[in-house]
């Protein structure tokens, strides 16, 4: 019975091809717009998430405070207020997953006839973990390297390209400020961070080596920065409060005295950017949904016309035994079929245009199966919702009136 009705609906759609095609066009444009907007929105979210994930998650940066000498203030990390012992104490705090004290600065690197100025970061092996940074070539240094201040270095991709060109840097010796360092590893590429700074333009060496051989320290064990990773996003406020209390106590700051350190939440900026893109993509989807709604109203409009035009046919069908349910099903099926066919075409159109945008502008596009599924569910809903009223109207016709209709 359903099969017979499906083929009848197909016939009815074919009876006025231009009208059916125009009705479908509303759905095609609606679904197409939704698919494109979702693809672009999800693409933007994906791009932001990629950038965020290169920074590492749930991170705090604790910087040593500024100092003032003769009225000149040094800016953050100017005062030698943090040290390795602070970092070790922080690691004991509840909710802290990872602590890596770092001491960094900009230095000139020399290899053979090449030289390159870059950021040199002295830290512990945990630093790479906190930033979720992997080594693509060679290996990382270990705790023993930190203990014995060995002269080994891990270099970023940009440094590798500028100093070593096409050569394999691993095992080569370069100099940082007259000190020879053996390159033991090359970092995987992270690209730009949210500020546009090249994260691959860096060298990582053991903390103690940096303190003693490269930068020197005002006090033994001084560090400029401590990177702290919380074990989850939920424990971040607790960690922040814990660190503040711990450092004030360790630095013997009395009530009312200002902190001699700064704390920055690295994730906050990223989170807000992610929230912005999320809002944007919801907005895009909402606007696109309006065209889907308009398409649905188009279906309803045409179905109403169709019911009026076919009043006599409905009367005949009723006279030979069609129940209200049968007439309802027939017109509902027609609406759903138009809406499904429109949805399918719209899906293809949307995918085509999304891929086209990706190919011609390089914009990141994410096409998800779930979006296509949602589009189909929406199309069926639109078809049933907007087809219901005309179908109900048809089913409730009086057979005698309908038969008399010219």
């Amino acid at each position: 019975m359903l099969k017979a009705m499906l083929s009848e609906a197909w016939l009815a759609m074919g009876a006025n091809r231009l009208r059916t095609a125009l009705t479908m066009l509303g759905m095609v444009i609606g679904v197409g717009a939704v698919v494109i907007m979702i693809a672009i929105g999800q693409g933007a979210q994906y791009a932001v998430q990629q950038t965020i994930s290169t920074m590492g998650s749930n991170l705090y940066i604790v910087l040593s405070g500024s100092f003032t000498a003769s009225g000149v203030r040094s800016g953050s990390a100017g005062a030698p207020s943090l040290n390795v012992a602070d970092a070790e104490a922080m690691a004991e705090l509840d909710g802290v997953a990872n602590v890596s004290p770092t001491h960094q600065g900009t230095r000139q690197l020399v290899y053979g006839s090449q030289n390159w100025s870059t950021q040199v970061i002295g830290s512990t092996p945990e630093y790479l973990e906190a930033r979720a940074w992997n080594i693509v070539n060679g290996a990382s240094f270990g705790d023993s390297d930190v203990r014995s201040a060995t002269r080994v270095a891990i270099i970023g991709k940009t440094v590798a390209e500028n100093l070593f060109g096409a050569d394999d840097p691993v095992g080569k010796t370069m100099r940082i400020q007259q000190n020879p360092f053996v390159v033991i590893g090359v970092l995987g590429s992270k690209g730009q961070n949210l500020d546009g700074r090249d994260q691959d333009d860096t060298v990582i060496i053991p903390l103690t080596t940096a303190q003693r051989k490269v930068f020197g320290t005002p006090f033994l064990g001084s560090v400029r920065m401590i990177m702290v990773q919380a074990d989850s996003a939920e424990s971040m406020p607790k960690v922040e409060a814990g660190i503040t209390a711990l450092l004030r106590q360790r630095h013997r700051l009395r009530e009312g005295m200002p902190d001699d350190f700064f704390m920055r939440n690295l994730s906050a900026a990223a989170e807000s950017e992610a929230a912005t893109t999320r809002t944007m993509s919801i907005l895009l989807g909402a606007i696109a949904s309006i065209s889907l709604l308009v398409g649905g109203i188009g279906i309803m409009n045409i179905m109403l016309v169709s019911v009026t035009e076919r009043t006599r046919e409905i009367g005949i069908r009723m006279a030979i035994g069609a129940r209200q349910k049968d007439i309802l099903t027939q017109f509902l099926l027609e609406a759903v079929m138009i809406s499904f066919a429109g949805c399918l075409l719209g899906l293809l159109l949307g995918l085509g245009i999304a891929l086209g945008i990706n190919a011609f502008t390089g914009m990141v596009i994410v096409i998800s199966g779930s979006a296509a599924l949602v589009a189909f569910a929406v199309a069926a809903t639109v078809g049933i919702f907007f087809g219901w009223y005309p179908a109900k109207k048809a089913a409730q016709l009086d057979p005698i009136e309908a038969l008399r209709y010219q």
Binding site: L11, G315, I316, I320, G321, A322, R323, D326, L403
Partner: protein, 232 residues
Amino acid sequence: MSDAVIRVVGLGKSYVTAAGLFPALKGVDLEVRPGEYIAIMGPSGSGKSTFMNLLGCLDQPSMGDYFLAGENVAHLEKDALAQLRNRTLGFVFQGFNLLPRMSLQDNVALPLVYAGVDKETRRRAAREMLARVGLEKYAESRPNQISGGQQQRVAIARALVNKPRLILADEPTGNLDSHTSEEIMRLFGELNGEGITIVLVTHEPDIAEHAKRQVRFLDGQIINDHLTGAAA
């Protein structure tokens, strides 16, 4: 009396009009026994069309009872009436009322779709009925490709496809020339000969002469009910 195909008792129908309640049918009694062939006659406005709509389960009476094959159907719901139209009755209209987009075979098979019969059985039954009215070679044609008389024969085939006890025909020759009308009436005569009960509405006396019994309506009442020469 329970073996009557149709038995109506005090059947009445009133319509609400601007001038008030208009009684189109004022308490009609009639009994139709199996195998009868009745012509219902009367001028327009006499209530014969209203009566036919009630007999055909297209409408519900305002008063009285209607026993169709022994069952009182006067107060059934719309869907139950639809089932009766589908299984117990066959309709033939003045304007043929075939669906223009479908092949003749599909037109004939349509009542079976609503009876929930499977496709192969539908096809076979439709072919059989088309053969019965002599049009099997047009099975794949459209209604607009055949003549009016042929269309009416297809409509009769459609009325027969569910093997009803009763065929109701409303001015079946109204749109046909006299020669074709004769053919259609001959077909009705044959069907009646096979035992099918036929009730037809006409205002042409020579068409009514084919029936075995004539019932005349005037002002919503039966004024005359007699057997014709064909009854013998």
